[in-house]
Symmetry: C2
Subunit: 121 residues, 2 copies
DNA sequence: AACTTATATGCAACTTAGTCGCAATGGCAA
DNA sequence: TTGCCATTGCGACTAAGTTGCATATAAGTT
């Protein structure tokens, strides 16, 4: 979907900060934190955080807390688990995992921690 | 194991702060943060954090970051997953889960997020 | 194109978990 | 009992994220 349609659908204003963010999140293939992109973007950190919060409440983005006290955001498309490497700290999307069920619980998110494929070689 | 043996085994000094912490962690059945126990313990927060870090590097404790930007610690016994409830924020140990394997990865920790049994009723 | 108004932005001050340097304390071995 | 080195408390600091407020701007209306 186009950036413009995403925004209009939610009755938000299409500002340059929002264009910038949505293009960036659309381009990245993995979750990103403010730290990761602060040098690439042209807005105050308050604007970043206010927008990603709004996007999250409008179901445009997902987020989760990593090992490093930072929150990571990604476009909300199909649900998938994440792998956080204790060695290289990389965050990977696990797109081909069959969903896990737990009787009585609703699972929205799954995070695995350990040693990733590349570090495990 | 006795507190004293745990400490001596790792060549650490058995201070009153360490006794207090190990008894508390041994007593609690779920992961706890500094916030959770600061009113119960008799030590500076720097002492708390320095000790839990040391215990972690000596494989006495495990820890992980929750939703709330706080780190939670627990006695390292048998490996198990955790469930964090997005609604009541409670952290539960899932002791009866069969371990999940991912080809090429080493998994040390698993965190599920969603709605827990009690909130899902 | 100018007018209007609610929404969004930048800035600076604030909050809060956790860390660090340093001087004082206290376990423990000799 | 002594002495040394790990450990402690304290206060200052760090860094992610939040908030209040004055200003700017998107977008609908005239």
């Amino acid at each position: 979907m186009q950036t413009k349609n995403i925004i209009e659908e939610k009755n938000l204003k299409l500002t340059s900060a929002r264009k910038e963010l949505l293009e960036l999140f659309g381009f990245e293939k993995k979750p990103i934190s403010f730290e990761d992109i602060k040098h690439k973007i042209n807005m105050d950190k308050a604007t970043f955080y206010r927008n990603v919060s709004k996007f999250e409440s409008e179901s445009i983005l997902n987020s989760f807390e990593s090992n490093d006290k930072k929150r990571y955001y990604e476009i909300q498309d199909f649900p998938h688990a994440h792998f956080i490497c204790n060695n290289c700290n990389n965050i990977e999307c696990l797109e081909n995992m069959e969903p896990i069920k737990l009787e009585g619980y609703k699972i929205f998110d799954m995070i695995f921690k350990g040693i990733c494929k590349s570090c495990n070689k």
